[in-house]
C-alpha cells in the first residue's frame, strides 16, 4: 500500500533549485545553481554585486524564466505551473512595486483584489496598523518617504499571506524604527513561512537565517547551516568570493 504521507519523517521541501542556468544575451548570469530549502526554513544568500543573487530571486518569483534546470516553489514548477507559485510567493524588492499616484489604501486594495484576499478590508486595516501607516492611509504614495514606502511594500508583499517570502535587501533604506518593525514582523510570521533573503548585511543575515549560502559568479560557492560566528563567516565569505570572482 502506498504511503499516504510520502513526506512523513523528513522535512518537506518548499524551494528546490536544480542546475539553474540563466543567460542574458551572451552573458551567463547563473551557471548551474542548486539548493533546497525545507518548509519553514530561512535561507540568507550573500554575494558580491552582479553575482546573480537577485536573478535567483526573480526566477523563484516567476518574473524570469529559468534558462535551464528545474525550479520548484511550494511544490510547483515555476515554468510549467506558474500560477500556484505566484499565489504562494511574496516579494520585497529594491523597488516598492507601488503606484505613486494611488493612496496607500488604493494600492493595497488593488493587490488584495488581484490575489483575491477574502477579508480584504480587515487585512488592510490590520497591516496598516501593524506597519504604523494607518494615519497615512488616504495619502498618495508619492508623498511618502523612502522608509514609509518600504513599510507599505512589506504590507503589499505579505497581504495575501504567502507561504514563501522572497526578500531582496529588505533592510536597505529603512530607518531604525522601520528595521525594528520589519524584524518584528518577520519574527511573528517566521514559524509558518519559508524565507529566501538576499542581503549584504552579514550580521543581519546570520541572525535571521537557518541556512546561509554564498553565490559568486553565478555559482553556489558555499552553503551551510546557520549558527556560524559572524567573524568566522566573514572570513569564509572573503575566501570564497575572492576565489570565485572571475566573472
Amino acid at each position: 500500500m502506498a504511503d499516504p504521507h510520502p513526506g512523513h519523517g523528513r522535512p518537506e521541501i518548499e524551494v528546490e533549485v536544480e542546475g539553474l542556468r540563466k543567460t542574458f544575451g551572451r552573458r551567463e548570469v547563473l551557471r548551474g545553481v542548486s539548493f533546497a530549502l525545507e518548509r519553514g526554513g530561512f535561507l540568507a544568500v550573500f554575494g558580491p554585486n552582479g553575482a546573480g543573487k537577485t536573478t535567483i530571486l526573480r526566477v523563484l518569483a516567476t518574473l524570469l524564466s529559468p534558462g535551464s534546470g528545474s525550479v520548484c516553489v511550494a511544490g510547483h514548477d515555476v515554468r510549467e505551473d506558474p500560477m500556484p507559485v505566484r499565489r504562494a510567493v511574496g516579494l520585497i524588492s529594491h523597488s516598492p512595486l507601488l503606484y505613486p499616484d494611488l493612496t496607500a489604501y488604493e494600492n493595497l486594495r488593488f493587490y488584495a483584489d488581484m490575489y483575491g484576499v477574502e477579508d480584504r478590508e480587515a487585512r488592510i486595516d490590520e497591516l496598516l496598523d501593524r506597519l504604523e501607516l494607518s494615519h497615512r492611509r488616504y495619502d498618495v504614495v508619492r508623498a511618502f518617504s523612502r522608509g514609509m514606502r518600504q513599510r507599505l511594500a512589506i504590507a503589499r508583499a505579505v497581504l495575501h499571506r504567502p507561504r514563501v517570502l522572497l526578500l531582496d535587501e529588505p533592510h536597505e533604506g529603512l530607518d531604525p524604527r522601520a528595521v525594528d518593525i520589519l524584524d518584528g514582523l518577520l519574527a511573528e510570521i517566521r514559524a509558518d513561512h519559508t524565507f529566501v533573503m538576499v542581503t549584504h548585511h552579514i550580521g543581519k543575515g546570520l541572525e535571521l537565517a537557518s541556512r546561509v549560502m554564498i553565490v559568486d559568479a553565478g555559482r553556489v560557492a558555499y552553503e551551510h547551516a546557520a549558527g556560524v560566528d559572524a567573524d568566522a563567516f566573514s572570513a569564509v565569505y572573503h575566501e570564497h568570493v575572492q576565489e570565485g570572482s572571475a566573472q
Binding site: 507601488l98 503606484y99 483584489d113
Partner: protein, 227 residues
C-alpha cells in the same frame, strides 16, 4: 479570484491614476483641439462643402492622439517599477491585456465624446443625428481595433530603450487598413450614404480587424509581456 475581478481591479486602478494625474487626457485632448483649429484655418478659405473630408480629419487626429495615450499606458508601469508587482500577481496575462485595452478604450472614447460633436459642428453641413447609432458603432469598432493593436504593440515596445520611436514604427503601418475602413465608413455616415452595400463591407472589415488582433493578442501576449 476570478478573471473578471482582476480585470476590473486593473481597469479601476488605471482609470483612478489617470483621473488623478490627467496625464493622457489633457495631452490628447489638447492635441485633438489643436488639430481642429489647424484644420479649420487651413480650410477656412475653401468654398466647398468639407463634409466629405471630415472622416479623414477625425481619424488621423484620433490615431495620433491615441498613440500619445498608448505610449503612456505601459511606460507608467515600467518607469514607476510597478510592472513587476503586476506580473507577480496570479493573473492570466490575457486579463492584463484586456484590462489595459479597456482602459485605453475608455480614455479614447471620453475624448471622442467631446471631440466628435465639436469637429462635426465646424465641418459637417448635414445633420447626422438620425445616423448617430451607426456612427457610434463605427467609432466603437475602430477604437477597439486601435486600442487592441496599440496595447499589444505598446507591450512589445515597452522594454526597448527606443520605445517612443518603436511604437509608431510598428503601429502605423499595421493600422492603415483600419484607418481606411473607419474613414470611409465615417464619411458615409456624415454624407448620408448609409446603404448597406459599401458601408456594410467596411463594418464587416472593422469587425474582422478587431477579431484578428484580439485573437493574435490572446495567442502571443504571454510572450509579449514576458522578460
Amino acid at each position: 479570484m476570478s478573471a473578471a475581478a482582476q480585470f476590473s481591479a486593473i481597469l479601476r486602478k488605471d482609470l483612478t491614476r489617470e483621473l488623478r494625474t490627467r496625464e493622457v487626457l489633457v495631452s490628447v485632448f489638447l492635441f485633438v483641439m489643436l488639430s481642429l483649429v489647424i484644420f479649420h484655418y487651413a480650410f477656412a478659405s475653401a468654398e466647398s462643402d468639407l463634409t466629405f473630408f471630415t472622416g479623414g480629419m477625425l481619424w488621423v487626429t484620433f490615431l495620433f492622439g491615441a498613440l500619445l495615450g498608448l505610449n503612456r499606458s505601459f511606460a507608467q508601469e515600467k518607469d514607476e517599477g510597478c510592472l513587476d508587482g503586476l506580473l507577480l500577481c496570479p493573473v492570466d496575462r490575457v486579463t492584463i491585456f484586456l484590462a489595459k485595452t479597456a482602459a485605453n478604450l475608455v480614455l479614447l472614447l471620453a475624448i471622442q465624446v467631446v471631440a466628435v460633436p465639436v469637429f462635426t459642428l465646424f465641418f459637417v453641413e448635414r445633420s447626422y443625428l438620425g445616423d448617430l447609432p451607426l456612427l457610434a458603432g463605427v467609432v466603437l469598432l475602430a477604437d477597439l481595433g486601435i486600442c487592441a493593436l496599440g496595447t499589444l504593440l505598446a507591450t512589445i515596445s515597452m522594454n526597448s530603450r527606443a520605445r517612443d520611436l518603436l511604437l509608431p514604427v510598428l503601429f502605423l503601418p499595421l493600422i492603415v487598413p483600419l484607418l481606411i475602413a473607419a474613414t470611409s465608413a465615417t464619411t458615409a455616415v456624415f454624407t448620408g450614404d448609409t446603404g448597406l452595400g459599401d458601408l456594410g463591407v467596411r463594418l464587416v472589415f472593422l469587425v474582422a480587424f478587431d477579431a484578428v488582433f484580439l485573437v493574435a493578442a490572446y495567442g502571443t501576449y504571454d510572450f509579449a509581456i514576458g522578460e
